[in-house]
C-alpha cells in the first residue's frame, strides 16, 4: 500500500509538471503579448507592466520565467480575467464547487444505475434482457448531449413544467457560502427555509445530472456486463458451483464483488469523459460551474482564464482519478494485501 501511495504521488507530481509547462507555453502560443496573456492585465499602465515584467522575471531565462510563474501559481495568483478583470482564483473558487457537485452526483448516479443493469444483462447473457439492454445502451451512448439537454428542457421544463431549466437554485433563497457545495451549504445553514431550499436545489440538479449521467451510465453498463461475463467464466465460479452454492449465492457472494472491482478500475478513465459532457451541459442549463465559464472564456478570448481554468479542471479530474484508484485498491485485496507465503 505504501508503494502504491508513493507511485500515485510521483504520478501526480509529474502530471502537474507537464500540466504547468503546457499552461505556461500556452501564454506564448496565444496571440498577443505573452506577459499580458499570463497576467490578464489588459489595462495596465506602462509602469505597472514594467513592474509585472520584473515580477515574472521577463529579463531572465525561460526556465526562471517558468519558475516564477510556478511560484505565482502556488501563491494562488493566476492573474486576472481579461473579460471581468477579477482575479482568476476568485472566479474559480466560486465556480468549481458547482461543477464538483454536478459531476460527482452524476458519476454516482451513472454508477448506481449503470453497473447493476450491466450485471443484470450479463446474468441473462444472450437472452432477451441482455439484447434489450445492449440496444438501449447503444442508443443512450450515441445521443448527442446538446440535443438531449435541449429535449429535456423542452419536455420537462417547458411542456410539463415539472423541473426548472436553468441555474443551481431559485434566487429567492439566500445561502451563505461555506464550502461552495450548494447542497452541503444548505444543510449547514440555519435558515428556516432550509428544507425548501434543499428541495429546490435538488430539483434544479435533476435534469442536468440526468443529461450528464446518461452516456457514462451506458458505458458503465457495458463495462459491468463485460466484467461480470469475465467473472462468471472464471474457475473460482465453477469451483463455487461445485461446492454446491446456488446461483444467487454465487452472484451475491463472489461474482458481484469481483465484477465491481473490475469496473471501478475503469471509472477513473470515464470521469474525464464525464467532465467534458458536464461542460456542455453547464452551458445548456446555465449551471454556474467552471465548465460553462471556461467555454465562455474561449468565446471571449480570455486567454488568462483559459490557462487557469485548464489547470484547475485537469487537476480536479486527476485528483478524482487518484481517489478512485485508492478506492480500487481498498476494495481489491490483490492490490492491498502484502504477498507473504504463509
Amino acid at each position: 500500500m505504501l508503494i502504491f501511495t508513493l507511485r500515485r504521488i510521483s504520478l501526480f507530481f509529474f502530471t502537474m509538471l507537464l500540466l504547468t509547462i503546457l499552461s505556461f507555453s500556452l501564454s506564448f502560443l496565444f496571440p498577443g503579448e505573452q506577459l499580458i496573456n499570463l497576467t490578464g492585465q489588459i489595462n495596465a499602465t506602462p509602469e505597472h507592466l514594467a513592474a509585472l515584467a520584473h515580477q515574472y522575471q521577463q529579463q531572465a531565462s525561460i526556465v526562471s520565467q517558468y519558475f516564477s510563474y510556478l511560484s505565482h501559481l502556488f501563491q494562488g495568483d493566476m492573474g486576472y480575467s481579461m473579460a471581468s478583470q477579477l482575479p482568476i482564483t476568485t472566479e474559480i473558487f466560486h465556480r468549481l464547487p458547482a461543477t464538483i457537485e454536478l459531476t460527482s452526483v452524476a458519476l454516482l448516479i451513472a454508477m448506481f444505475f449503470g453497473i447493476p443493469i450491466g450485471f443484470f444483462a450479463a446474468i441473462y447473457h444472450r437472452k432477451v434482457p441482455d439484447n434489450l439492454i445492449l440496444a438501449i445502451a447503444m442508443i443512450g451512448y450515441s445521443i448527442p448531449v446538446f440535443w438531449l439537454g435541449m429535449l429535456a428542457i423542452l419536455i420537462f421544463s417547458i411542456q410539463l413544467g415539472w423541473l426548472p431549466s436553468a441555474g443551481q437554485i431559485s434566487l429567492l433563497f439566500e445561502i451563505e457560502y461555506v464550502t461552495g457545495l450548494q447542497l452541503i451549504d444548505i444543510l449547514l445553514s440555519d435558515s428556516e427555509y432550509k428544507w425548501q431550499a434543499f428541495q429546490d436545489a435538488t430539483r434544479h440538479l435533476i435534469l442536468p445530472v440526468i443529461v450528464v449521467a446518461l452516456a457514462p451510465a451506458t458505458i458503465f453498463m457495458r463495462l459491468a456486463r463485460t466484467a461480470m461475463l469475465e467473472v462468471l467464466d472464471t474457475h473460482y465460479i465453477t469451483a463455487a458451483q461445485a461446492k454446491g452454492l446456488t446461483f444467487a449465492q454465487i452472484i451475491y457472494r463472489h461474482a458481484m464483488r469481483n465484477a465491481v472491482i473490475k469496473v471501478i478500475r475503469d471509472v477513473g478513465l470515464q470521469f474525464a469523459n464525464l467532465v467534458t459532457i458536464a461542460m456542455i451541459t453547464e452551458m445548456i442549463f446555465s449551471w454556474p460551474g467552471i465548465g460553462s465559464w471556461l467555454i465562455e472564456s474561449i468565446y471571449q478570448r480570455d486567454y488568462t482564464a483559459i490557462q487557469g481554468g485548464l489547470i484547475v479542471l485537469s487537476t480536479f479530474i486527476f485528483i478524482v482519478h487518484i481517489i478512485i484508484d485508492f478506492v480500487y485498491a481498498a476494495l481489491n485485496p490483490l492490490a492491498r494485501e502484502p504477498n507473504h507465503g504463509t
Binding site: Y236, A239, A242, G244
Partner: protein, 330 residues
Amino acid sequence: MNLIDIRNLSIELKTATKPILAVDHVNLKMREGEVRGLVGESGSGKSLLAQAIIGVLDEKWQVHVDRFHWRGQDLMRLSPEERKAVITKDVAMIFQEPMACLDPTATIGEQLEEAVDVAQLSGFFWQKRQQRKLAAMNLLHKVGIKKHQACVKSFPHQLTDALCQRVMIAMALARRPILLIADEPTAAMESTNQGQIFRLLASLNQLKNMSILLISHDLENVTHWTNTITVMYSGQFVEAGTTEQIFNQPYHPYTRALVDSSPKASSMIPNKSRLMTLPGSIPILQHLPIGCRLGPRCPRAQQKCVHAPKIKSYHDHQVSCHFPLKDSYS
C-alpha cells in the same frame, strides 16, 4: 455395490456449424472405497468428463449419457435439479489450478465457512456462525495446515499453490463427500509437495473410506496411489483395469506407449528395447480423426480402425481396440 456407473457418456461442443464430439461414449465405473486413476494426455477430455459428472459444464456443452447410476440410484430418472442436489451432496471436486479456483477477493475463512454443510449446524444463527468458524478450523486441521489462525485470515494470493490445494481439499471435505474427484491435484507443484498431497488423499481414502477419482496426465505419477485405472485418449475410452493390469500388461497400444515412455517401467520390463513414444501429438477438437482416434499415431492401425472399436472385456480388464495386445503376453 457400485459407487458410480456411467455408460456411454458423450459431451458435445455446440458450434455454429455442427457439434463436435469432445468426449465420445466413455464408460466409468467405480466401487465404494476405490481410488481410480483417470489417465490420458492433456486434451483427452478428462477435465470435461469430471465436470460433466459433477454438473458444472456451461451451456456451450451438451452432455448425453445412456446410464448414470449413483450408489444404485438411477440419476437419469431425476430432474436436473434433483440430480444436482444428489451429486453435490456426496461428490466434491478439487481442480487443476487451486489458486484460480479460490475467489481472490474473499478470505480463505469466508470461503471455507460457506462450504460447511448447513445440516451439520444447530441452534440460532449466531451459534451457527460460531460453529461454522470452528468447523472451518477443524477442516484446516484435518488437511494438515498448522497455522490455521493466519490461514483463515489470508487471501488466496498470499498462500502458495500447495497450501491453496490443501485449502481446496479442506473445502471439498466440508460436505463429507463419498467421492472426491481430484483433477490433477498436483499439477505445477514441486515433488515434495506432490507427495504430501497424495499422502493426504491416500490417508483420507483409508480413514474415511472416501473414494477418489484421481485425474492425471502422467500415468507413472499416480500408479503408486491407485487401485484401478481408466485410460482415455482424445475423448475416447481406451482401457480400464486394475493398476497392475494396466501397468504390467496393457492391452491397448496407447496404454502400452504410455507405460513404455515412463522410465520406471522400461527398467522393469527388460525385454522392451527402447524408451518409445508415439509419433505425432493429440488431435485438436477441430480435426478429430474418424473411427479410432488413435489411428493416425497407432503402430498397429489397419483399415478396420476407421470404425470405432467395440469394448472387449477380459476379466474386468476392458480395452477398446480392434487389435489388442492381449496375445503378446503369454
